[in-house]
């Protein structure tokens, strides 16, 4: 039996919010977009097909909402992600470096990376959501990982995110 909109919200709202937060870098925008996603979910839940994984369906809507948002704003303008204060200093440096690296990715690569890592979508599902091929998804994912690794290495070797 298909899940109700309430259940989908309970299961995926936070993941969707974090996806938007990392994609836009702005908490207020992330909240607005998250709200928009679940209102769309309620409106279109009758058309939801059981053969699709619900997480894939929700993130597909999320991505459409993001694309609509990008049409109004410049996707390249991503604010510095404000992360919550981690306990240890080393963890904080790593987290800051990671989110900074994520912010510097090309929007398309960051999108694919977050759909995979945050949404847990398969390559096929990402390809459907982004209207591309699985091969392209594979390439973008590796490219994103390689760049994050390089940026993290640079940041860490330089002594932290504020040093560069």
């Amino acid at each position: 039996m298909a899940a109700s909109a309430d259940e989908l919200f309970e299961r995926h709202a936070l993941a969707v919010y974090r996806y938007f937060r990392r994609m836009t870098g702005r908490p207020d925008v992330a909240e607005d977009l998250t709200q928009d996603v679940f209102l769309r979910v309620v409106r279109s839940i009758d058309g939801y097909q059981l053969r699709n994984r619900e997480v894939s369906w929700v993130f597909r809507i999320a991505r459409n909402v993001l694309v609509d948002h990008w049409q109004k704003t410049n996707p390249a303008e991503v604010a510095v992600a404000d992360i919550e204060e981690p306990a240890a200093e080393e963890t904080q440096i790593l987290a800051l470096g990671f989110h900074e690296a994520l912010r510097l990715l090309a929007p398309g690569d960051r999108d694919v990376y977050l759909l995979r890592e945050r949404g847990g979508l398969t390559y096929q599902e990402i390809a459907q959501a982004c209207e591309t091929t699985e091969e392209a998804v594979r390439s973008k994912l590796y490219r994103a990982r390689r760049q994050i690794k390089r940026l993290l290495s640079t940041r860490l070797s330089a002594g932290g995110p504020d040093a560069g």
Binding site: R18, R22, T34, R116, R138, Y142, R146
Partner: protein, 180 residues
């Protein structure tokens, strides 16, 4: 490491289907295990991402979702009811129309039979009464004492003659008597 090997390891790390031969080659590359470990560290960073929306946002949005769902559910029921009612009306109207058409057709066929030209013989039969047909009897108006007739009393009314008739009759009787 070549890009194709690194991409294969990346896909393998994500649990995607990878060509076995290519995977074996990729795993045999120097630095392949370190690359997989780096992927795992990155994933851990994503999973440790503890950013949360402002307090009350999730509760407020959940309430909005519930409200919208309830409204849509009510509207959905109303639409279903309206569709059912419309169907009922449509079926009724269709039945009425079919019935009217059938009735009209029946009456048209009946009119056609009646207006069919009759044969000459039939016309003659109908128009010319047979000679044996008795002439219509003179109309006798019922008397006021009709109740006596109904109860079996003497047919007073039938015996009563008008004065003129009686006079004619008596004069005829007198004439007959004189003749004899």
């Amino acid at each position: 490491m070549e890009t194709r090997h690194a991409e294969a390891l990346s896909a393998f790390f994500d649990g995607e289907r990878v060509d076995a031969e290519l995977l074996a080659q990729s795993l045999a590359q120097p630095g392949s295990s370190a690359l997989l470990a780096e992927f795992a560290v990155m994933r851990a960073h994503v999973e440790q991402d503890a950013c949360r929306p402002t307090p009350g946002f999730l509760e407020g949005t959940a309430e909005q979702v519930r409200h919208l769902r309830a409204r849509r559910s009510w509207r959905g029921r109303f639409v279903k009811l309206a569709v059912a009612a419309s169907l009922l009306v449509a079926v009724g109207a269709a039945g009425f129309t079919l019935g009217s058409v059938a009735e009209r057709e029946r009456s048209r066929q009946a009119t056609h039979v009646v207006s069919r030209p009759l044969s000459t013989a039939a016309q003659v039969k109908t128009i010319v009464p047979p000679p044996s047909t008795p002439l219509p009897a003179p109309v006798v108006k019922p008397s006021k004492r009709r109740s006596l007739q109904q109860t079996g009393g003497p047919p007073v009314a039938s015996l009563r003659l008008r004065f003129g008739q009686w006079r004619d009759l008596s004069s005829r009787v007198d004439a007959e008597g004189q003749r004899h």
